[in-house]
Each structure stands twice: as structure tokens, then as C-alpha cells.
Amino acid sequence: MELDYFLFVFMVSLGVFQLMASWVKLDGISFFPRRYLGYIFAVVMVSGGYGWFFGVDRNIADTAGGISGPFLFGYLFGALCLALVVTLLFSSAVRARWGKPDSEGEQRGLEVLKRMTFIQAISRDLRRNR
């Protein structure tokens, strides 16, 4: 049950991150070269995650093998963080040749990820501070 719940939140989070990457045009964290593919991926992950997880009855008391409130929060937070890390690293890997790390524009925050990947942004900072 715990692993299922963790995977469910992970799948849905991954889908929502790609949905927002396409919607807000944060190409630096997108897995795909075309935005519509991000939307398709989001629909598949969110509906697939919900469909798979709730394909069986999940209304189980924590005294009978279900997950108690604090653990629900813990697994949710953990899965969300893992999905974020996977999004940042995987998008940086598949788009390694895409970004423009030396381009002009906003130098801080999420806006930067419209022009470069996460790893490119971090590497740029490390080069500047050297």
C-alpha cells in the first residue's frame, strides 16, 4: 500500500510538472521538444496514476494495513520531491544541447528555465563564482 501510494503520487507529480512546463513555457524542465507532447504526457501520467491506484479499493483503516495521516503526508512529500529531482535531471539530460546559458534576460528564478536547463543554470552559476 505504501509503495503503491508513493508511486501514485510520483506519477501524478511527474505529469503535473510536465503540464506546467508546457503551459508556462518552461522548456528547460520539459522532457519533450514539442509542448503538445508535454500535455499528452501529463494526461497519461495523471489519468494513468489515478486509474491504476484506484483500480482497487484503497479505503483501508490505518489499523488494518492502511496508511496513517502523518505517513500519508511523508510519502506525498517524498514522492513530490523525487518527481521534482527526476524532472530537473532528466530534462537536463535530454535537452543538454538545447539551452542558451549565456543569453540575456532574467538571471534568477524559474524564468531562467525558459532559456536553459536546470543543470546549465547551476553550471553557469558555478562558472561565474569560480
Binding site: Y5, F8, V9, V12, S13, V16, F17, L19, M20, W23, V24, L26, V46, Y50, F53, F54, D57, R58, N59, I60, A61, T63, A64, G66, I67, G69, L72, L76, L80, L84, E106, R108, G109, L110, E111, V112, L113, F118, A121, I122
Partner: protein, 198 residues
């Protein structure tokens, strides 16, 4: 008041068992996973939204308000359980226990106030401070969740109202708390921004 509460309860709970489709849907949304995860995903989406940097920061502050509000609300409900011990509807009316068992499991803590309502409405009120459209989606989910709790026989309507009041109040409290610690909140967001995550 209690009489009206019980009458309203039976009006809603009386719908259970009439339609297999409605029962299946309520069985799906009544638990602690379906709707809470959806609410959190709305907050995740909110984190990225905003016409400009200021709009995005307002949304991100609202996400923090919602999360802190939920923390306060959960603590308030846990504390109130020391003072209130209202029996669950299926304890007062054992004849509905088969309905509860068919749709959910019988919880053992106090019926009043509803933790689900407190959490759901705290999420919604917190989001309201940044993005009203996202907040309305969360409020809709909160209403659906809490309606399902009454439908499945685990709460009275008054438990929901009590939980909702606590949740909304706690998000206002969280809003004030974030203002109170203002330089800290801004520094925290700035650190996240340095990591390109805000």
C-alpha cells in the same frame, strides 16, 4: 440544532445505496488519497503560475499559506479532540453501519470537528490569497470530499461546518503568521529562487 443536524445527515446519507454509480464514485472520493492529492497538485500548478515575477511570487506565498494553514488546522483538530468526543453517526445509529462498511471504514476518533473539512478548507482559503480560480477548484474539491464523508455516514453536517470554520480560520492565521515573520518568508523564497525553483 442537533435535531436539524441529524435530519440533514439522514437526508444526505439516505442517498447511499440508491445508485451503484453514485456509491462507487463516493467510495472513490471519500478516502484520504483521491482528493487530498488532487488538492496538492492544484497547489503545485499554482506554484508555476503568474503573469510576471510578482504574480508568481504572490501565488507561491499563497501555496505556503495553504500548507502552513493545513498544519495549523490539523493541530487544531488534534487539540479539539481532547475537548470534544462526539460519537460518529454510525455509533449513534448502528443501523447505518452496514452502509458505512460498504463504502468506507468506520473511523474511531471524534466526529466533531471533521479533519477532512479542516484540511480541505484550509487548502482552499490559503490558495485564495494568491489565485482565486485555483482556490475555487480546491473549494469545489473540499465540498465534494466533505459531502462524501456525510454520504458515507462518517460525519454529521455540523462536523463539516466546524471543520471548515477551523480550516478557514487557520489559513487566515497562517497568512498573518507569514506577515509576522516577513523578512524570513522573503529570504526563504529568495533561497528557493536562487536554486531556480521559485
Amino acid at each position: 440544532m442537533i435535531w436539524l443536524d441529524e435530519k440533514l445527515f439522514f437526508l444526505i446519507n439516505g442517498l447511499a445505496g440508491k445508485s451503484e454509480a453514485a456509491d462507487s464514485f463516493m467510495r472513490l472520493v471519500v478516502g484520504e488519497q483521491f482528493i487530498p492529492v488532487a488538492m496538492v497538485m492544484v497547489l503545485v500548478a499554482m506554484w508555476f503560475l503568474g503573469k510576471d515575477a510578482r504574480g508568481r511570487e504572490r501565488n507561491q506565498r499563497a501555496v505556503w499559506t495553504a500548507l502552513i494553514g493545513v498544519g495549523f488546522a490539523s493541530a487544531a483538530v488534534a487539540l479539539s479532540n481532547h475537548f470534544f468526543d462526539r460519537p460518529r453517526p454510525f455509533d449513534d445509529f448502528p443501523e447505518i453501519l452496514p452502509i458505512v462498511n460498504g463504502l468506507f471504514y468506520p473511523p474511531t476518533d471524534s466526529s466533531f470537528p471533521s479533519n477532512s473539512a479542516a484540511v480541505g478548507f484550509a487548502f482552499g482559503m490559503g490558495a485564495w490569497f494568491g489565485n482565486r480560480k485555483a482556490a475555487l477548484v480546491i473549494f469545489f474539491l473540499a465540498i465534494l470530499w466533505t459531502f462524501a464523508r456525510v454520504y458515507c455516514g462518517v460525519h454529521y453536517p455540523l462536523d463539516i461546518v466546524g471543520g471548515a470554520v477551523i480550516g478557514i480560520f487557520c489559513s487566515f492565521l497562517a497568512f498573518g503568521f507569514l506577515r509576522l515573520i516577513e523578512p524570513l518568508a522573503k529570504w526563504f523564497l529568495d533561497i528557493i529562487r536562487l536554486l531556480y525553483l521559485a
